[in-house]
Symmetry: C2
Amino acid sequence: MTKKPLILVTNDDGITAPGIRKLIAIMNTIGDVVVIAPDSPQSGMGHAITIDSTLTCNKIKVDDGNQIEYKCSGTPADCVKMAISEILDRKPDLCVSGINHGSNSSINVIYSGTMSAAVEAGIEGVPAIGFSLLDYSWNANFDVLEDEIKIITQNVLKNGLPEGVVLNVNFPKLEKFKGIKICRQAKGNWKETFDKRVNPIGKEYYWLSGEFVNLDKGEDTDEWALANDYVSVVPIQFDLTAHHFIQKLNNWEL
Amino acid sequence: MTKKPLILVTNDDGITAPGIRKLIAIMNTIGDVVVIAPDSPQSGMGHAITIDSTLTCNKIKVDDGNQIEYKCSGTPADCVKMAISEILDRKPDLCVSGINHGSNSSINVIYSGTMSAAVEAGIEGVPAIGFSLLDYSWNANFDVLEDEIKIITQNVLKNGLPEGVVLNVNFPKLEKFKGIKICRQAKGNWKETFDKRVNPIGKEYYWLSGEFVNLDKGEDTDEWALANDYVSVVPIQFDLTAHHFIQKLNNWEL
């Protein structure tokens, strides 16, 4: 009998979010599951870590299933550090993060707590995948993602991932997908609008708001795949060096 | 007479930190300076943005000089969004972030609020540089960095930066440098230790702590440059796609 893989599950929407509950249920069919996830929503936390305050991490049981679960007061990146350095007695074979309620395609990968957890696992040498659904609602339909999540997860367990690479998987909001497409990150950004208001004692404050703008029409991008009913898979790296610009920089008068 | 460049200054240590005060003083000799920086320390915030709560942004005067200044309740990335979308009446010619009290070399770029501000500016199409000194102390000697900061800044203003690239500049803790070296990001990670304690009512909590481990002996890395008394300049990109792995991924059975 083959030994079951040890799978670490985390997210950024918090341990009770329907997205992570579905991901745990799927992972329970594949391996031994340990969940270490934030005790409250951490969306938009990017790769934040907690260095100026304390952390708590406590065992809980949220629902049925064979998983072992801990809720952690920190960010998604904290959860992964806590899991690997403190809670787990061996390095996990895989870390999966999500399923995020909302898109992490294109530039959103930068702001994403979901993806920061996957990246943190990658930094620690653990193969990792972030899963996100292009539906922000709490009651999004995560059931239809099951087959694709299993296929991608099994492939990562079988093939491994190269050092320094994790996967960013996004699902369009659909009942059925045309297939799974390997993509590059589309160029895009947010056109911000700051909604300026006045509080009851007359002081101004703002809500950050905005609209994503896709600046990239390439058919090899995640935005194209998602707009055309495909599941997008982007391999992501955390060596941020812009290698193509090094030679030119060497010609500057520095 | 040539028009002076408009320079946005921000950081992650907060608007009163000696590092940003020095950077403002240097930039005042180069252009018209607007400061929009966090009202409290934001170290380790990575690329976090504020989407679940409100933001404030208020004009202040911290010290003498021609700069116009605002303190913002948000993260470094929030400050840059606020500056470009709400406060400034034209796109700045340059954004500089720092001078950070502490290193942002190697993998630290991922956790860095200083660099997230520079990256956010880059996303918005503004040439950007993050400056960091390998000295965490509040009273670090920032004066000795002046010449190199001016040279690098003038070069960016003169040559521009390609779309999608910002600079990560780190200074060793020295009185004098051997020179400025163009580098790639060294492979490295943190070996975390969680310092477990018990609070006065008997509940366990943790402090995240750890030690940086350089896994890369390459003489073309930022770690090598800094250990050998050079100022390191790493061009950083925010297209995170691991392009080298796309072909192989296409051979998976997905």
